[in-house]
């Protein structure tokens, strides 16, 4: 019995190290930020791609289009190949499904109800590909692979409306309240899966190229630009007179693709490999007219971006802009609710707040704050009302989506000032409106 216990203990000790390494490789607690960047990019890329497909939706994916159900059953049917579109018989049903998909793409990009919207996107993406297997090419396959990982990952916890809603909820009681950034071991595992996906993709891509004479002989890049699909007169002018560039570009492509899966994992070499891979895809986008493919690939590479790089970038931005203080009227319910919404978009926490009723500002007189909200800048300047918001939206990344509204030359100020002034003057009345939020019971 004692022998058995010793064997068990030794076995346990022998397994402990690999188990630790396994956990370290897969399940390190990580924030979801890199995955969120991929989410936003994939959402926007899908929205653009399928949005532009809208005029052809019946041609591509309906029973009356290129691939009839009979043709599909005869040539593409397989036990595990399912598509929602095979069950939609009427054209309006296909159009409705397509519209829902587009709506979900937008929701996915902004991170609204991400936890279930992402699954609709995955089902949709697979359904499009399986309904018309002629259409998908490399990029569609990569999108599907990345989407699956994003579906499994706890995305929507940063850089999203879901996060904004959660922060706003916390701030409704107390504007100084803050939610800690989300991080989890499962987010780490999903990031790792995406990294493996990209490494495998590059590895097989390189291996396949090496097998071909076009690549081996160094002529592949010439053949690409001569091909009518990618014909580019300007590029050929350069390459024809300097053919050595063709050889260099061909071998450099293989070199980057073969080096990537091996050197991307090391701390020292990762930045170089990332830069090289992104450079490669920017070339594809520029000279081969493949912006969608290139964007998706770059979004896949984002999984290798270290969270600390993003943290440093955020800290640099915060330092560059400097701290800002918003002075508001804490007695006005509408102002507090608006501030809670506004601050929820400030992921880097660049703005601090001061309720002048309880904590008067040494910079701005109370009488001024009675009339409008004020923003105090690091250099001591104070901007009132609309100008305060205008200043902030350009400097808080979470509010960049409002920049077009606040920076239309002349028009923004022409319309913005009266709107703000009206709201400020009527804030008492607006505070009484609860927008469906139940009034606190009064005794």
């Amino acid at each position: 019995m004692q022998k058995l216990a010793t064997i068990a203990r030794r076995f346990g000790m022998a397994c402990a190290r690999p188990a630790r390494q396994w956990a370290q490789f897969w399940f390190q607690s990580r924030p979801t930020t890199p995955l969120e960047i991929t989410r936003i990019g994939i959402g926007l890329a899908l929205l653009t791609n399928y949005g532009l497909a809208s005029p052809y939706v019946l041609l591509f994916w309906a029973d009356t289009g290129w691939i009839s159900p009979e043709l599909h059953a005869e040539n593409f049917g397989a036990p595990w190949r399912h598509s929602i579109f095979l069950h939609l018989t009427a054209p309006w049903q296909v159009i409705a499904a397509h519209s829902l998909f587009l709506f979900c793409c937008a929701a996915f990009a902004v991170g609204w109800r991400t936890s279930w919207v992402k699954w609709i996107l995955l089902i949709g993406q697979i359904s499009y590909a399986h309904r018309n297997p002629i259409l998908p090419y490399g990029v569609d396959k990569i999108v599907t692979s990345l989407l699956l990982i994003l579906c499994l990952a706890p995305v929507g916890r940063a850089l999203s409306l879901d996060r904004v809603r959660a922060v706003r909820l916390a701030k409704r009681g107390n504007l100084d309240a803050a939610l800690p950034p989300f991080a989890s071991p499962w987010a780490g595992a999903c990031t790792r899966l995406m990294q493996i996906q990209m490494a495998v993709l590059f590895f097989w891509s390189a291996v396949e190229k090496i097998r071909g004479d076009d690549w081996w002989d160094g002529n592949a890049v010439w053949l690409v630009f001569v091909n009518n699909e990618f014909y580019n007169r300007m590029v050929l002018d350069v390459l024809a007179s300097q053919y050595w560039l063709v050889n260099v570009a061909t071998y450099a492509t293989i070199l980057i693709e073969i080096a990537y899966p091996f050197l991307i994992w090391q701390r020292r070499t990762r930045p170089y490999l990332l830069a090289a891979a992104i450079f490669l895809h920017v070339q594809f986008a520029t000279f081969m007219g493949m912006p969608y493919f290139s964007l998706v690939m770059i979004l896949g590479h984002v999984s290798f971006v270290r969270p600390e790089w993003l943290t440093r970038l955020g800290a640099w931005w915060k330092r560059r802009v400097g701290e800002m203080e918003m002075i508001y009227d804490g007695r006005c319910g509408f102002c507090v609710r608006s501030m809670a919404w506004f601050l929820a978009f400030d992921g880097l926490r660049q703005i601090s707040v001061r309720n002048f009723r309880t904590n008067p500002s040494p910079v701005v007189d109370d009488a001024l704050v009675e009339r409008a909200l004020y923003l105090v800048l690091p250099d001591g300047r104070a901007l009132p009302g609309f100008e305060a918001y205008r200043h902030v939206v350009l400097r808080v990344p979470g509010l960049w989506w409002q920049v077009p509204l606040f920076y239309i030359p002349v028009l923004s100020r022409l319309v913005g000032h009266p709107i703000y002034n009206w709201i400020a003057a009527n804030r008492g009345r607006l505070s009484a409106i609860r927008f469906g939020i139940p009034r606190p019971e009064t005794k």
Binding site: N49, L52, F60, I134, A240
Partner: protein, 174 residues
């Protein structure tokens, strides 16, 4: 042992099993069809790979690129005149439609028996104003084109560098 401990352990094991399974599937999916080991593994992963659209070779422009080809068609009208069309030349490079229609053209050229009649019928309708008698589907195959050809002022799609093959000719219904 408390229930929480078991729950955490089980969850951890399930997550570990999944990441191992998915990584293995990613590695096996592009493996060559000629490898016996890869094929026996593929049988295990096949439903998972097919259902989720993960069954990919990742062979972008590989192993060879080749010289390219283009789908064209010719409409013969009632007076015996031939009107030539190259639909790909009207597609915009930066619109995704470029790739979708290219893929469709490629499918027509690869398997004209499958799509030829359907495409020709559609083209007869599209060109009804020409009073078409028949439509011929054509594969224009690019020939070798090297730097000296380019420097001599030629283009890869010049007739000297192209060979056309009629894939099928379909009579239009009057």
């Amino acid at each position: 042992m408390p229930a929480d401990w078991w729950q955490t352990r089980l969850l951890y094991m399930a997550m570990s099993a999944f990441v191992a399974w998915h990584s293995a599937a990613l590695l096996v999916a592009p493996a060559p069809a000629t490898s016996a080991i890869a094929q026996s593994l593929r049988a295990v992963f096949d439903p998972y790979l097919t259902m989720l659209g993960l069954d990919n070779q990742w062979s972008f422009y590989a192993p060879n690129i080749g010289w390219g080809r283009q789908f064209r068609y010719a409409v013969e009208d009632a007076e015996g005149r031939r009107h030539n069309f190259a639909p790909a030349e009207h597609l915009s490079w930066y619109h995704p439609g470029y790739w979708w229609f290219r893929a469709w053209h490629d499918a027509i050229m690869t398997t004209p028996d499958l799509y030829g009649a359907q495409v020709a019928a559609q083209l007869c309708r599209d060109h009804a104003s020409l009073k078409p008698v028949s439509v011929s589907l054509i594969r224009a195959q690019q020939g070798e084109f090297w730097p000296e050809d380019h420097l001599a002022g030629h283009r890869p799609m010049d007739p000297d560098f192209l060979s056309e093959e009629i894939l099928s000719t379909v009579k239009c219904k009057s």
